[in-house]
């Protein structure tokens, strides 16, 4: 009789399904939960691993959700069901801060961890141009002002824009619109690049909405190529296509310096020193935000923040520098570490 037990098993399994669904509410948590930017992810995970090995606390769980998605999760409430820290490749916006407050997350500590450069790279052995931000804007914007009128981008070769630039077809591989790197590129290159053109300055004064739209729109005629979120893939494609340029974070350039080279921007080469000193203009700050209300609830939160900002991790010779994080100037790091240790809540961001 195989039938009888079979019937019972079926019944029992159905019952189990019902029980599983109704059981297991959120319990106390002994592990830090971090969400947010995929740019900060490699650094945050390195600290998390180190922290887990070197302290009696458990290794924090770090999720790569993107800055915006992470902040949304972070701001959804206070309690063990919500993350303790959010990584972000941009400062928190005022609207996000307000949303946080509306859900009871009113005390947040802002911690700046360092800088990340964005590089325009090409295969090694190809000519190394010196771009200005204006060049990049003119090469990549969907519409550009010519003789005071905005027309669809007519340029096909870099040398059309400025004779000193290489005479190869404009082709730039970059991240998709959901990426923080792309947002930063728009903000750090496209906007200031556009403003160097008088017609663009005029547009900003008269019609800011249209200005925002025009600096955010990249070409869709195959000159700017959406290469997906994977920066390793862009590096590989640059090796295969020697006339193309690629857009990615400095840490990928550092790891692949034998294969790709970073173009100069405004006369500065992307190096550790030039990004740190600010000579290389296309760089941004990386942050994480701590939910102060969790400091007493989740064990190890204070210690983790201390470990992240300490000299062994974020200092000029720390292990994060080995992974491509450009550290803060030492005095600033010390100040940040101090306010992070005391979990000094941030003020309402202006914007």
């Amino acid at each position: 009789m195989i039938g009888k037990p079979f019937g019972r098993v079926l019944g029992a399994a159905l019952l189990l399904s019902a029980v599983v669904l109704s059981a297991a509410p959120a319990q106390a948590r002994d592990q830090i939960r971090i969400v947010g930017s995929s740019t900060v992810f490699p650094f945050s995970t390195a600290v998390a691993e180190h922290f887990g090995r070197m302290t009696p606390f458990r290794t924090p769980v770090v999720e790569a959700t993107g800055s915006g998605g992470g902040i949304k999760l972070f701001c959804s409430g206070v309690g063990v069901g919500y993350p303790d820290i959010v990584n972000s490749s941009r400062p928190i916006k005022r609207s996000e801060f307000e949303a946080c407050r509306a859900h009871g997350v009113d005390r947040i500590t802002e911690v700046r961890v360092g800088f990340d450069g964005i590089v325009v790279a090409s295969a090694r052995g190809t000519p190394r141009p010196d771009f200005t931000r204006k060049d990049l804007f003119l090469a990549l914007a969907r519409e550009v002002p010519v003789d005071g009128r905005w027309i669809p981008n007519p340029w096909t070769r870099w040398s059309d824009i400025r004779p000193e630039l290489p005479s190869v077809a404009i082709e730039l591989l970059g991240p998709p619109p959901t990426s923080g790197t792309r947002d930063a590129f728009l903000e750090l290159v496209m906007e200031p690049g556009c403003l160097e053109i008088p017609a663009c300055q005029e547009l900003k004064d008269t019609d800011p909405a249209s200005f925002a739209l025009r600096t955010a729109a990249l070409r869709e005629d195959g000159r700017f190529i959406d290469a997906g979120e994977n920066d390793n893939l862009i590096v590989q494609k640059l090796e295969a296509n020697r006339s193309a340029f690629g857009l990615f974070g400095f840490s990928f350039l550092e790891q692949n310096a034998d294969k790709v080279q970073g173009a100069m921007i405004e006369g500065a080469e992307p190096t550790f020193e030039s990004i740190s000193s600010g000579a290389y203009t296309v760089s941004r700050s990386l942050f994480f935000y701590v939910k102060n209300a969790h400091a007493g609830i989740v064990p190890g939160l204070r210690e983790f923040v201390e470990a992240f900002t300490g000299p062994a991790a974020s200092g000029p010779e720390g292990y994060l520098a080995d992974r491509g994080l450009i550290p803060l100037p030492e005095a600033e790091r010390e100040a940040t570490a101090r306010s992070a240790r005391d979990l000094v809540p941030m003020a309402v961001p202006e914007d």
């Binding site: 009789m1 195989i2 039938g3 009888k4 079979f6 019937g7 098993v9 079926l10 399994a13 159905l14 189990l16 399904s17 599983v20 669904l21 109704s22 297991a24 509410p25 959120a26 319990q27 592990q31 939960r33 969400v35 995929s38 992810f41 490699p42 945050s44 995970t45 390195a46 998390a48 691993e49 887990g52 090995r53 458990r58 290794t59 769980v61 770090v62 999720e63 790569a64 959700t65 069901g81 090694r124 979120e229 994977n230 920066d231 390793n232 974070g249 840490s251 990928f252 550092e254 790891q255 692949n256 310096a257 034998d258 010779e317 992974r323 491509g324």
Partner: protein
């Protein structure tokens, strides 16, 4: 000239044969194209990933001095656990190169040793405190940059400034090689560790266990529910508008993009039921929503293929409806149901999109202990490694793909085998 039918047929015969031959050729070309693509995929992945199964190892004789590990001689666990094992390992390396004295140069030299050596030594001493005062021979993987160098993936002809390793570092490494301290061995870390930011320490075991727990939950939920639904719809349900609507919806569900199930999981299991994030339980729940329609459809087809004569015979000798189903129909349909289930499970094993929403795309350094501890799954691990800047992660990624593919091939072969073995034709 009058032509009869035979002539007309004969005249066209050649053309028809040619058409026939062409038609077959199209089919063969299609199969060949698919095979070539599959072959290219395998060759690229295997050629990239094969080297990840081999680790470059460094053998050091490390004197475990009591003064460093346990100065007071208490042998207390807290003392042993917090001792500076890194210093011991680095001292052993420095002993190989007594002429390197400069602090910065030493830092460069120390880059050869992976943190794994420190953890290994700590583990050994903690397990056997009698080792204190003796010299331990430690064979551990070297740091990933040197592993890449040993595997010939660093182009040493490039100028020094473009490499992650400078000429002196390469020289030191070659000296160690000449002294016979560098060897190649099976990469154990790949199989026993969970994720790590250091490529040489990163392994797939954590993700594998995560996948296992997730699939167990999926199987435990979707198999009984799917079979029960199929049996009811096939054997009991009346044919009316309501069952028609249910049927259409099951078929629709099977075609819903998987990320939608992730959103559903986020709203219901995390939001409403308050289940923990990143847990295999939630992953399993979401994936069972995804596999349920597949199983129901497969089970219904299998039940339909059991001939009515079986049911009639059972009923004829006095079996109740339930006895008929449980004793006769279901056992005969089981091979078909199993096949459908395995294929559904194989699909669930390769899924990442719905897991993003419920927090399973994450860095998790501990191997999960159960269905409630945070974990990730194999395809997510592949995705995370593919996105890491360190070059050594690329070969790890390919190795993880090989392992995932092996599991998929095993599952699909099992499905084919089950069908062949137990299938009955009437």
């Amino acid at each position: 000239m009058p032509r009869n039918i035979t002539d007309i047929v004969r005249a066209g015969l050649k053309k028809r044969y040619r058409a026939e031959a062409r038609f077959r050729l199209y089919g063969i070309t299609a199969i060949l194209a698919a095979l070539v693509l599959l072959f290219t995929l395998f060759v690229t992945i295997v050629s990239q990933g094969a080297s990840a199964f081999v680790a470059t190892e460094l053998t050091l004789s490390v004197p475990v001095t009591a003064a460093v590990v346990d100065p007071e001689g208490t042998r207390a666990e807290a003392t042993l656990s917090g001792a500076n094992y890194r210093k011991l390992v680095l001292d052993a390396l420095d002993a190989q190169f007594p002429d390197v004295q400069d602090r910065i140069e030493r830092r460069k030299l120390h880059a050869i040793v992976s943190d794994g050596a420190t953890y290994d030594l700590r583990e050994k001493v903690m397990a056997n405190p009698a080792l204190i005062g003796t010299t331990v021979t430690l064979t551990t993987p070297v740091a990933s940059d040197f592993d890449m160098l040993a595997k010939g993936q660093v182009d040493v002809s490039q100028p020094e400034s473009l490499r992650r390793l400078n000429d002196r570092q390469i020289g030191w490494f070659n000296t160690l090689k000449e002294r016979g301290l560098v060897s190649f061995g099976l990469d154990r870390n790949l199989f026993v560790n969970a994720d790590s930011r250091q490529p040489e320490l990163a392994g797939i075991f954590g993700a594998l266990m995560g996948s296992l727990y997730t699939l167990l939950v999926t199987l435990a939920l979707s198999f009984p529910m799917g079979v029960a639904a199929a049996v009811y719809l096939e054997e009991y349900a009346p044919r009316n508008r309501l069952t028609d609507i249910i049927e259409v919806n099951i078929n629709n569900l099977a075609a819903v993009p998987s990320i939608v199930f992730g959103l559903l999981g986020l709203a219901i299991f995390l939001g409403f039921f308050g289940l923990p994030r990143s847990a295999p339980l939630v992953g399993g729940l979401v994936l069972s929503l995804m596999t349920l329609p597949t199983i129901i459809i497969a089970a219904r087809v299998a039940l339909q293929s059991v001939p009515p004569s079986i049911r009639e015979a059972a009923l004829g000798i006095g079996a109740s409806k339930m006895q008929t189903v449980l004793h006769h129909v279901l056992p005969l349909a089981l091979p078909g149901i199993m096949t459908g289930t395995i294929i559904g499970m194989a699909r669930a094993l390769g899924e990442t999109a719905p897991l993003l929403m419920i927090g399973m795309v994450a860095f998790i350094a501990d191997t999960p202990e159960g269905i409630l501890s945070p974990s990730t799954v194999l395809p997510v691990q592949i995705y995370i490694w593919a996105d890491s800047p360190e070059r050594a992660f690329l070969e790890r990624m390919s190795a993880a793909i090989i392992i995932l593919l092996t599991f998929l091939v095993i599952m699909n072969t099992a499905a084919v085998w089950l069908r062949r073995k137990f299938e009955r034709k009437w």
